[in-house]
Amino acid sequence: MGKYIVKRLLSLIPVLIGVSLIVFFMVRLIPGSALQMYMGTQVEATPEQMEQLKRLFGEDKPIPVLYIEWVGDIMRGDFGYSLRTGRPVLPDILSRLPISLELTLYSLVLALLIGIPLGILSSLKQDTFGDFLNRIIGLIGLSLPQFWLAALMVIAFSSSQGWIPMGNYVSLFENPLQNLKMFFLPSLAIGFGFAAVVMRYTRNSMLEVLQMDYVRTAKAKGLPKRKVIIIHALKNAILPVITVTGFNAGYLLGGSIVIEEVFALPGMGRLALYAINQRDYPVIQAIMLVIASLFVLVNLVTDLVYAMADPRIRLVDEEK
């Protein structure tokens, strides 16, 4: 098991090389360089000044050379400096990462807390009014864009004290209750669509599992219905839900970028958005590397959780 985890972590390296290549060249394909963004249209500069600025903004060398220099810096743990603020990139990202992570985790937990029980209920009351209502709400949840839901929430709750963050961010360790309250609506906006996905997966999976022979065995033992469902059926029905949760965790992280903007939460997504607007290459590149690493880690965690939930799966080294 330990060997397996190490191997999976080592697979981070090629992923990161690929991501770094793509990101590095892609951001430079966006029209307008960092320097142009900085200069705007008004400012005049002498050729000497322009030379200096170009060196400062790293536009004096060919892009492949810049890439190699950048990778070399990162190997030494130096993620460079923001072209806009002049501050080192890494501390800025690390201070914002917890907000994005909390938002993602929170929305994940909300989605599971809403989706799984509703999915179970729907499967037990298959084709009744409640089931149809559930499925219709689920369909709506799937179809609503997150940012639209978020905007509606801001409008609806803007007068309610403490529900909308609006710039007065409080960390989880300072005041847990207020933090959770403040993050509730943004997380719900991100997680609502995913809750619908979880609900549908749970429902379909339960419907299938409830037909299985071992559920009949459990009933024949004389177990009450509640135990049959929770112990015998749900343990099996949850497996596809774990898989889909793993897939979607990355998607939720992406969703947090837009939602942080709507709710004015100082997370990594907001930082990325500004960096892209300003062509702040070092910041964009660093953020993308962090997100790619998180993606790989989430996949690893999903596989580990799945292996714990399903004893038939054994994690073995892939090459054999």
């Binding site: 022979d213 071992y214 033992k221 004389g222 177990l223 112990i231 099996n236």
Partner: protein, 335 residues
């Protein structure tokens, strides 16, 4: 009800709603199970043998299935009219079941000992540790080598025969009055089949359990049973002691079944007999005897009227048959 009768099924009717209408999977089935006896129920697929037994434990899913008539008398109470809660204390404790496919019948994500201990904790009020010890003991009794280690395994780590042993351990854990074995050997290798049948017989004698053995294998019936019910299209068409049934089958269907067993001496010299045609569509049963289209003794009356069960008195005891070849009630049947 005799003193020795432990279970009495009377006029049991179970129907299923299907797209093509109501299907009477079990149609007025009656039989008695004597204490310590093994009763065989034989018939082809879809004849209603499994549904009959699921109905006894009220394990028919509604919808689409529903028990619409009859009585199941066990210890002077009708299981079809007791509350669901009372039913919970009968299932697994007084009447338990083992199923055809032990791979799909055991929960794949729960350790073997837990699946056995669950029943003990539920019905015997054991604590977890005590139940675990007892579960390991049951595994030992049932012939699982190295039970302490195997108890920690999951079902997929067991062979088919081992899994069926686990099922039997689970079913016998509370020392039930009745064990219903629904095709317990169908999914197993022939050599394992014999072991499992031996095990069931041994435990049955040890614990004085009455057994209902559902099978389509007449070999199993001959080896295990005292009494036999032959089912066809949701009805019992013949019921007799095992020797009487094999010695002188009365119903043309039973005869057909017995003739389709290959015999050693005839191999290569004679074509194997088969019953022509296929079972009738239960959703669309014509009037009269459901077997008449496949019967070589069919008469005019068979097309219009359902044959009643006729009781035949023989030297070995009572037997019944539902066929117009035996019209007079109470008289001796022709051999």
């Amino acid at each position: 009800m005799h003193e020795t009768t432990i279970l009495q099924v009377e006029g049991l009717v179970t129907e299923f709603k299907s797209e093509r209408g109501i299907v009477n999977a079990v149609n007025k089935v009656s039989f008695d199970l004597e204490r310590g006896q093994t009763l065989g129920i034989v018939g082809e697929s879809g004849s209603g043998k499994s549904v009959t037994n699921l109905s006894i434990l009220r394990l028919i899913e509604y919808p689409p299935g529903r028990i619409t008539g009859g009585k199941v008398l066990f210890h002077d109470q009708d299981l079809l009219s007791v509350s669901e809660n009372e039913m919970l204390s009968i299932r697994g404790k007084h009447i338990s079941m083992i199923f055809q496919d032990p791979l799909t019948s055991l929960n794949p994500v729960i350790k073997v000992w837990k699946q056995i201990a669950e029943t003990l904790m539920l019905h015997q009020g054991m604590k977890k540790q005590e139940a675990k010890k007892q579960a390991i003991e049951l595994l030992r009794i049932i012939g699982i080598p190295d039970p302490e280690m195997r108890a920690e395994c999951y079902p997929h780590q067991f062979s088919g025969g081992m899994r069926q042993r686990v099922m039997i351990a689970m079913a016998l854990s509370c020392n039930p009055d009745i064990l219903i074995a629904d095709e317990p050997t169908t999914a197993l290798d022939v050599t394992i089949q014999a072991q499992i049948l031996d095990l069931i017989r041994e435990k049955k004698e040890q614990y004085q359990t009455s057994v209902i053995m559902i099978t389509h294998d007449l070999g199993v019936i001959a080896e295990m049973c005292d009494q036999v019910c032959v089912m066809y299209a949701g009805r019992i068409v013949e019921r007799a002691g095992v020797e009487a049934l094999f010695g002188s089958p009365k119903h043309p269907y039973t005869r057909g079944l017995l003739e389709s067993i290959p015999r050693m001496g005839n191999v290569g010299t004679q074509r194997l007999h088969s019953i022509k045609g296929s079972p009738p569509d239960l959703a669309n049963l014509p009037p009269g005897c459901p077997f008449r289209d496949r019967c070589d003794k069919a008469m005019d009356i068979c097309a219009s009227q359902l044959p009643p069960e006729v009781v035949l008195q023989e030297a070995e005891g009572e037997r019944t048959v539902a066929c117009w070849l035996y019209p007079q009630e109470g008289k001796h049947g022709r051999a």
